[in-house]
Symmetry: D2
Subunit: 289 residues, 4 copies
């Protein structure tokens, strides 16, 4: 296998694990933006580092607030467009959630890049650590076992599919709300109980746990009013989330909104997934240029 | 619920079970084309029957050879277009695999119809009896247990998904060949072993069972030459099938090509699936007219 | 590993597969009592063969009717005690279901022996082919899929445990009748529905399939009278079986009594189990002498 | 159903949930020893309460240090033998881990009693919350997902059986070490990888997680020296535990010893299990007297 020179700029624990995985395959890896957490990793001159690299990997997401490169373990403030400015021709650029203006800047400079979040296989595999993180939260939150609990999952996308499989393995009674008849058929095939989303109101009332995965307001005040007060509510959907949190708290529900679970729950596995996705892209030769 | 007058014309055992399921819900059901197997069900005047019905249900597929209505349990020869000719305005027409010329004839007469095979939920649910039929064939064919056998499934469509789930439940070592990276990721999520289809040749050699579900020639003479001679080959794909049968038999493989399993293995369940699909269509109001 | 000289005398297809497995590990294997099915395997002089062997393996069971060695693939009639008479000192003797008088004869001659059916690990592993055979019978017998069927298993011994696990993997609704509270707890742990055996009468009435594994008359005429007539009855228990077959047939039930499934359904796996059991005994040094 | 007068004396959150479950069935329930956590529950005169009760339920275990009744939510110090002294003839006495001297005192006074920990069905069902608690600890401890991790469980008793089932449902590679060949067979039946305990040393080296369930020193300093340093060690065995903790910490292992998980992880479920066990005992009429 071809050895490459990688430069990892920012990101969270996933970046740290990723560097170790790459070194295990004898690639050269340099790090920038980790000096606050790892004082040994002093930041060297970034321009020089960039000039001697094949692949730059930034975090997921690429940007933090204010258009800065996402570097939670660093005290530096590096604007994303300043970073791109420093990159020239022959480098591959990898990051998650690359905004439109940055894509245009990359295109303009003829730099090959791809967005990790555009890759379906990455999204599928990331559903595993996300689902395991949800399981941890549920065990911690409820006074009963998952075994024999009635759990309703809203949505049968990636996380819905993986989470339902694991909860079924615990012996929970798994209900899943979806809209399409073909999804409802799959739900039945897998041995879960299907609920048409239009009947959500009547089925939600008597659950031990409800997990939302749809980024649309599903549990409105109206529906929350009818739910058993000891039901645990867990939202895994990205903004704006699917629960009326203000109303849920007013009613006294135990409620959590858990975002970015893969990096928090299983950074090593999340790093492996990133590495494999990058490998696939190299193998396919499917960098956008 | 609204009571309807159903007329079932032809089809196999699924039609017989379907009539019983409809009667249990107090619909009126009449039958045409079953007199050879059920001498009690004498065929009455078809035109009269049609003139006093709301829904006509034919078999899957609608046609047998020569453009005749598929009526395996009848001695009559009724051309499909002659049947359509008899139908007038207010009747709903249901069948499987309605050919283009017949659709045009139905459209021309303004008759509301739908094709069962166009419904995704029906295809999904039918994967269950098909997979169970495949399991029966595998148990019968191999001298070992499914437990601990190495089984390679070609394709991760509906039948591939359901069959792999069941075989995994037996404790088999399940390998699945697919092409898309996202499918390979799902295969891993479910705990099976993924094989990229381009590597089929090297992985196929040492299996106890290979089940094909892709209607494309997958197991060519070249690949068959390399497969262990005691491997059982089962093809579930529709025509032209995925195995070079002539070559496989020349090499002495035990090989089966199993088509239309749902109606043969579990006609009652297959009839329930048809009934539910029809119910869904009525509920959606999604008849083509 | 030490190479041995094996002599296989009689038995069914398991014996044939066993000889191949032993040869794969470079043991010498000779066969006696297969000439009717395999004309190439002519029977040589038995005394001479015995005088040059380390281990003699007979069938399961050792005896067929009339005290003869169980040799279904042979035309010879060899009394078991005549066989034992020919054996002397240094040979290990292995068979299934060795009767008390034969054990005494072996003890008297100081021959080391063990009974395969006394080994718990063999009984456990044999439950797998037995359960798979039961699955094949169920798929064949019922007009519905196992998925979503209601299946009641009587007894939570070895076969009950393995069969329930597989049927659960199909997505059946699995009910299990047992007597001990600790068994009922385990049934619940595994996600099946527990029935106390004293309530059998009320739970048996509305099942799609009932599988008996207890060698005691469970389904009496009284209970059969209350069972839904389209319920499939399958008895896996050894004599006297657990179903009143005469009454069941009078009532028109579809009913099967399946014995000795492992050797019929999966002779290769059954032979592997025998081989591993013999290996364990040699490793333990636990031959009775 | 017969209504009873229950008196719950001490115990943890399980006692609190148990009181609610009993009230739901319209029994009268009084509480003693909860005033520190629930100031509303003032302790009344204990003798008077005892004189008007049918069933007394103490905690699991009955005693805390110094021979006192286990009452973590109370400031009172009540010796167990003083409590027994107050009880007279017609009361049923229930608790967990009743020591020999107390049993003799109960026998002497002719009081009917039983020890919850003597009931097999209670031990079986308690394995579920214990296993779920272990899962929570594992997810929290390791940087990878349980999916695809290699996990070795020492022991195939109750907790070993339930935990392996759940971890298998996550898609882990589950290895189990046991001593009996029949257990090793069951391990294989369920699709896990069997390890004979005598080979522990060679298999333990390359695991992501090792969970011990055997109350015997299994992971000695010698074995720990050979284990991969990033392996997470979790001990679920009661005293003296199965890991050389001092040595494990010296080597820098992440290691936990988790006891009494059911009451901590799922007190509601644990209370339901206690209630059902008491119901079973009443139904059987199996109080010791």
């Amino acid at each position: 296998m071809q050895k490459r020179k990688y430069l990892i700029i920012g990101g969270d624990m996933r970046s740290v694990y990723l560097s170790e995985l790459l070194k295990k395959e004898y690639h050269r890896v340099e790090m920038y933006g980790f000096e606050k957490k790892y004082p040994d990793m002093k930041n060297k001159n970034l321009s020089l580092m960039i000039s001697d690299t094949n692949v730059i990997i930034c975090g997921i997401p690429l940007e933090s607030a204010g258009g800065l490169v996402n570097m939670p373990f660093s005290a530096e403030a590096l604007p994303v467009n300043a970073l791109i400015e420093m990159i020239s021709g022959d480098v591959f650029f990898v990051a998650g959630k690359i905004e439109k203006d940055i894509r245009e800047q990359l295109d303009g400079k003829g730099i090959a890049y791809f967005d990790l979040l555009d890759r379906e296989e990455m999204a599928v595999l990331n559903a595993i650590p996300a689902a395991e993180g949800a399981v941890e939260l549920i065990i911690k939150a409820i006074p009963a076992t998952i075994h024999n609990s009635r759990i309703l999952i809203l949505g049968f996308g990636r996380i819905g599919k993986v989470l339902s499989k694991i909860l079924h393995g615990f012996g929970a009674e798994v209900w899943i709300a979806a809209r399409k008849y073909s999804d409802l058929s799959w739900i039945e095939v897998y041995g879960y109980k299907p609920v048409h989303i239009k009947d959500l109101e009547s089925y939600a009332t008597d659950m031990d746990v409800i997990v939302n995965t749809i980024p649309v307001r599903m549990l409105t005040a109206d529906i929350l009013n009818k739910i058993r007060p000891d039901c645990y509510l867990l939202d895994l959907a990205s903004k704006p989330g699917g629960i009326d949190f203000t109303h849920a708290e007013k009613l006294g529900f135990k409620v959590d909104w858990a975002l970015s679970l893969p990096g928090k729950v299983a950074p090593l596995t999340a790093a492996e997934i990133i590495k494999r996705t990058i490998d696939n892209v190299f193998q396919e030769g499917s960098f956008t240029k």
